[in-house]
């Protein structure tokens, strides 16, 4: 059976199981539309959109102290709410120990009132390391980002979110100006590009970022522990490997077993939801069509042909879901600016990229069901009533 033939069979299967196909596509559609809108809401720069999709969707790990155990309580020794340290972050950043981790950013956060001249503005102050910019997939609008030297010298510098900058300095240029945080005068060296709201709803554009040592030694807060460690995997494919490495490393460093871990690792995987939807439906489809697979095998279909047929079907569903999701996302991008004050910028590259990602999701998550179908013994398959 050649590719054209397989494609035709795949199309027929998608068409003849309309409800099932529609539900699968819906999962991807929502995922893709959400990604297009989140990306489009904050960011117009097309060059960054592909990496934005990745960081929003698949390769960021968020490590927080404490562990939500199934029994409900937070498990761990006394003071378990502050169990992550700068040393943990340093260890995670080691290429030798954790080869699948690309960047690490320990952060410590506090609320403070910022004073610039006669204006003041209350917002969150984040102490972190230079890796933060990459792990959070942010970019600079002007000025420079924090450097390793800032960290080493406990430099009195800060980078402001765009909202914070305009609240404190209005239309005038914030670069080189001084901001006073908890009595510590800091020089504004840079301003971030806007990013919109995070998944948890906090405003990513309203914050002041300072070097972690500056935060710990001058502004206040704990001297050793950090609130969150952001970890970026080297790629979407190595996310679970990076998760494993971080988990093993931290368990070792803290000398605890997995059962009473004093930290929690979360990954942001919105696209994964769509992918798992495809896998689920394809598995159902394999079960539902066990007789068809058995029959095709009895009539001479080789395992390879069967695998190909299911892969083609899964990527067709992914593609269709991606196209529809992009359409909904773009429609949303046209409508949303009339409802909220923010602008929505969606580039063709973002739409095309997310369609490609959707098709890839179908393909990747179709592999397991397709393998299952190909391995079915024809007699077992035919015997099923």
């Amino acid at each position: 059976m050649n590719w054209r033939e397989t494609l035709r069979t795949g199309l027929e299967a998608v068409r003849s199981h309309r409800l099932r196909s529609a539900l699968t596509m819906l999962g991807i559609l929502i995922g893709i539309a959400a990604v297009i809108l989140t990306v489009g809401l904050g960011e117009g720069a097309s060059a960054q959109i592909q990496s934005q999709i990745n960081s929003l969707g698949t390769n960021l790990l968020i490590i927080t102290p404490g562990s939500a155990t199934s029994s409900g309580g937070v498990n761990g020794p006394l003071g378990s709410a502050t169990t992550l340290t700068v040393q943990d972050a340093d260890a995670l950043a080691s290429r030798a120990v954790a080869p699948d981790i690309a960047a690490v950013a320990p952060t410590s956060q506090t609320g403070a009132t910022l004073i610039a001249g006669t204006r003041n503005w209350s917002t969150s102050v984040i102490g972190t390391t230079p890796g933060w910019l990459q792990t959070r997939a942010r970019a600079m609008a002007e000025g420079r980002w924090l450097t390793a030297a800032d960290e080493k010298n406990v430099a009195d510098v800060t980078v402001l979110g765009p909202t914070t900058a305009s609240k404190l300095f209005g239309a005038s240029d914030p670069l080189g100006q001084t901001v006073d945080i908890n009595g510590v005068p800091l020089e504004v060296v840079g301003v971030l590009k806007p990013a919109g709201e995070s998944a948890s709803g906090s405003n990513e554009d309203d914050q002041a970022i300072v070097p972690l040592p500056t935060m710990q030694q001058q502004i206040g807060g704990s001297r050793t522990s950090v609130d969150t460690i952001f970890v970026e995997a080297t790629s979407a494919a190595t996310l679970s490997a990076a998760d494993q490495e971080a988990d093993t490393l931290l368990l070792n460093l803290h000398g605890v077993s997995a059962a009473n871990a004093d930290f929690t690792i979360n990954s942001q995987q919105s696209l994964l939801v769509g992918g798992i939807g495809v896998m689920n439906i394809m598995l159902v489809s394999v079960t539902e069509r066990i007789r068809e697979i058995g029959l095709r095998k009895a009539l001479g279909a080789t395992p390879r042909v069967i695998r190909r047929q299911f892969l083609v079907e899964a990527s067709l569903l992914g593609l269709a879901g991606g196209v529809l999701g992009a359409a909904v996302g773009l429609a949303g991008a046209l409508v949303l600016p009339h409802l909220i004050p923010d602008t929505v910028a969606v580039s063709p590259a973002a739409a095309a990229g997310s369609i490609a990602v959707a098709m890839l999701i179908g393909l990747v998550f179709g592999v397991y069901p397709a393998g299952r179908a190909a391995r079915l013994a024809p007699i077992d398959a035919l015997r099923t009533e």
Binding site: M1, E5, T9, E12, A13, S16, R291, E292, L295, R296, K297, A298, L299, G300, A301, T302, P303, R304, V305, A377, P378, I379, L382
Partner: protein
């Protein structure tokens, strides 16, 4: 050389730690052109024998030669090719794909060969004509009676011009009228030179064949010319 040569074929299934011997040494030779019925009570091993004859499964030990080729040690890919070229299946449940019209069902085995689309369709339509369904080419299985569906299945089994037509309880789901139709059709095909093996537990079906092989507890308990001999 016979079309089918089975030499001391054994098959054991493993369920957990328990090994169940389904076939315990079958030696059987079927020449080309013969019409054979395989009979036996349930549990006698006739389904297992059908799976091995149909290359849907391989024996645990023993040799199976089909048209001179030893298929007992072939890979899954090779077996798929053998099934495609040499064997036409007719199942009790018809096993037609409900979403496709009759001719698409019939051309299915050809889609796993290197046959072009136009030729596939032409051969499918010819095969449907041969089973008396020349006017039902575009009908879907749901629009056909049970007997007609089974005739579509026979057409599908014939479309690749296989060496062996293997039917597993072909009339098990049919009323008496359709049963007679299908048995007449099989008889005609045999008269035209086809090798046919029918697995059945119905004496009426077995009586049409020229030879009956009886199985009991995984062994051949009787092998005779039809009709059934009392044991």
């Amino acid at each position: 050389m016979s079309l089918i040569e089975l030499a001391d074929v054994r098959k054991a299934y493993r369920t957990g730690s328990l090994a169940v011997a389904a076939l315990r040494g079958i030696t059987l030779s079927i020449p080309a052109g013969q019409y054979v019925a395989v009979m036996g009570p349930s549990g006698s091993g006739k389904s297992t024998l059908m799976h091995i004859l149909g290359c849907l499964d391989v024996p645990t030990s023993g040799r199976y030669q089909l048209a001179g080729e030893d298929v007992s040690a072939m890979s899954e890919e090779q077996l798929a090719g053998i099934r495609n070229r040499r064997i036409g299946f007719v199942f009790q449940q018809f096993n037609l794909l409900a979403t496709m019209p009759a001719w698409r069902n019939v051309e299915l085995p050809l889609s796993y060969t290197r046959t072009g689309r136009a030729e596939r369709r032409e051969r499918a339509v010819t095969a449907l004509g041969r089973v008396g369904l020349g006017d039902r080419v575009q009908h879907r299985p749901g629009e056909l009676s049970g007997g007609e569906q089974q005739r579509v299945a026979v057409a599908r089994a014939l479309v690749t011009e296989p060496d062996l037509l293997l039917a597993d309880e072909p009339t098990g789901n049919l009323d008496s009228g359709s049963t007679a139709d299908i048995l007449t059709l099989l008889g005609d095909l045999h008269a035209a030179g086809r090798t046919i093996v029918v697995i059945t537990h119905e004496a009426d079906v077995a009586r049409r064949a020229e030879r009956t092989v009886h199985l009991l507890d995984g062994l051949v308990s009787g092998d005779s010319a039809a009709p059934v001999v009392a044991q």
